[in-house]
């Protein structure tokens, strides 16, 4: 440890600039897990502060009013089963199916993005970039308004439920982002792997499926989970379109309680809490997995 190193604790042998050891923390290349990292790092006090705020707020908000804290709280408790079971459950269902469809289509699109054929690669890049960079709400509106209310299958008329339309709307940005995750994972594999496989007479197709993708799989899991958390947080957008979910039902509940302004913070605060509580373990797992794989791959 006491060894003297030129340029650090000893005079440098040259006056050329010396590369000093980097002393920062772990450097994360372009951070694709920003959201999960933030959520996973929420301090412990946050988990006390938010519920407390929900409970205490009405008392402060209108101290003069005759509506007490406990009344607001009681109203919330009364409505919780309704807004969770008929509301939040749909956020989960929507996010689940949007993720499922978005992942399947996104993987296909991502593979198309690395195709050697321009005819396949260019449209895939175009689709990916357009859906990735469009506002989610706009995509939702387009899909909800463009999809027919009803479809006829074999003479029978089936009404498409709103939540299913929301799934189609939300799976588009997910698809585009997963496509980028897949492409990013593939190009992050060193080119030496391609060359080694090619020199062993692997075809391009075999190289991709047998050498490259198995190495990508682990790398894709953390960003994939990150996108699931982001998607779940985006599901309340559906309430703007009247899809029944947590926020829509919270609003209905507040209305049923005569729209008392004291109720806004408890109800929406509760919504916030429930989203955070749902996504927090996912974010923790994402970051834990990311650390583990980072160590494994040296």
């Amino acid at each position: 440890m006491n060894q003297s190193i030129p340029g650090i604790n000893k005079k440098a042998g040259t006056d050329l600039p010396v590369l000093k050891p980097y002393r920062g923390g772990i450097v994360h290349a372009p951070d694709n897990l920003l959201f999960s990292r933030w959520l996973a790092d929420l301090p412990v006090w946050f988990w006390w502060a938010l519920p407390l705020l929900i409970v205490v707020w009405p008392g402060f908000a209108l101290a003069a009013s005759n509506y007490s804290m406990s009344q607001a709280f009681a109203a919330l408790i009364k409505w919780i089963p309704f807004i969770v079971m008929d509301g939040f459950l749909y956020n989960v269902i929507i996010s689940f199916f949007a993720m499922l469809i978005g992942t399947v289509t996104g993987v296909v699109l991502g593979l198309m993005q690395v195709s050697p054929l321009r005819l396949i690669r260019y449209p895939a890049k175009f689709l990916t970039q357009s859906f990735r960079n469009s506002p989610w709400l706009v995509l939702l509106f387009i899909v909800l308004l463009a999809l027919p209310f009803e479809v006829e299958i074999g003479g029978e008329i089936i009404r498409i439920p709103d939540w299913m339309k929301a799934v189609f709307g939300l799976c588009l940005p997910v698809m585009a982002n997963i496509s980028e995750v897949v492409r990013g994972a593939i190009i992050s594999v060193p080119s030496g792997q391609w060359e080694a496989a090619e020199s062993l007479a692997y075809s391009r197709h075999q190289t991709l499926w047998q050498i490259i993708l198995p190495q990508c799989f682990k790398r894709m899991i953390p960003p994939w989970m990150n996108w699931y958390a982001i998607l779940t947080m985006a599901t309340p957008l559906c309430s703007l379109l009247g899809v029944e979910e947590l926020i829509t039902l919270s609003r209905q509940a507040i209305e049923a309680e005569n729209n008392r302004p004291e109720l806004l913070v408890p109800f929406y605060g509760f919504a916030l809490l429930i989203f955070f509580a749902y996504c927090y373990p996912i974010a923790r797992a994402t970051i834990a997995l990311e650390r583990r794989y980072a160590v494994k791959l040296q």
Binding site: P190, G192, Q193, E195, A196, A197, E198, S199, L200, A201, Y202, S203, Q206, Q210, I211, P214, Q215, K296, L297, Q298
Partner: protein, 251 residues
């Protein structure tokens, strides 16, 4: 296999007046080399002189602009070439090992014969274990590349290439990324191979080694072959001033 039928009086690799550019940068400016079956050829030269580029052209990892390269009669840069057929004949080992990190040493060696040559698994496994023994890595069969030293990884890479039963082996500065202590174990492996009669083309900076095993040495500089000859004359009696300067710097 094929090599046994190959007419021993004809070069197994024939490189004739090859030109290769990357954009505006001409990297090979008319290179010709003949390699006979069983010969060991060393290519030396300063950094950037096009050694890697040349060796990568032989198994079609790089294309060329003009000239011709034939390996056992296969025209390498023919548009109709079956690249996979060529690469079955030519094994290649890289400076950076490029082992598949998600597979154990044994699996690395077994994968290509099973997946590419479609050989039966148990036959391949017997051969792979023998190869691992041959590169002196018994006991490391189930280690992942990340658990092996550089020298060990490089020997797995050699075994992996040999598992395809190539007729020719290309080595591109395979010891350049290794610690001085582990260089030797890799060189010993290559020497064994050369002594068994494998046709080898090596790019190397290990002059002592080149002198010991090469049948013929080529010196390249800025995309041309400046001088070539058997090791004795090459090292002790270089004609070209560029060769002499290079040798005086490196020896």
């Amino acid at each position: 296999m094929n090599a046994t039928q190959w007419d021993p009086t004809r070069p197994i690799i024939s490189i004739v007046d090859v030109h290769k550019s990357f954009g505006d940068l001409e990297v090979l400016k008319g290179v010709s080399i003949d390699v006979m079956k069983g010969e060991v050829i060393c290519i030396i030269g300063p950094s950037g002189s096009g050694k890697s580029t040349l060796i990568r052209c032989i198994n079609a990892l790089n294309d060329i602009q003009s000239g011709s390269i034939t390996v056992e009669g296969l025209e390498v840069h023919d548009a109709k070439l079956d690249k996979l057929a060529l690469r079955r004949k030519v094994g290649m080992v890289f400076q950076q090992y490029n082992l598949f990190p998600h597979k154990t040493a044994l699996e690395n060696v077994m994968m290509a014969p099973i997946k590419v040559l479609k050989e039966p698994r148990d036959e391949v496994e017997t051969r792979a274990r023998a190869l691992i023994k041959k590169v002196r890595l018994e006991g490391k069969e189930d280690s992942y590349p990340g658990e092996l030293s550089g020298g060990q990884q490089q020997r797995v890479a050699i075994a992996r290439s040999l598992a395809m039963n190539p007729d020719v082996m290309l080595f591109d500065e395979v010891t350049a990324a290794l610690d001085p202590e582990t260089v030797k174990e890799v060189l010993v492996t290559i020497k064994d191979l050369a002594e068994e009669g494998m046709t080898c083309l090596l790019v190397t900076h290990e002059m002592g080694f080149a002198r010991e095993i090469a049948d013929h040495i080529y010196f390249t500089d800025r995309g041309v072959i400046v001088e070539h000859g058997p090791p004795e004359t090459f090292f002790d009696d270089a004609k070209d001033p560029r060769t002499r300067e290079f040798l005086s710097q490196i020896l």
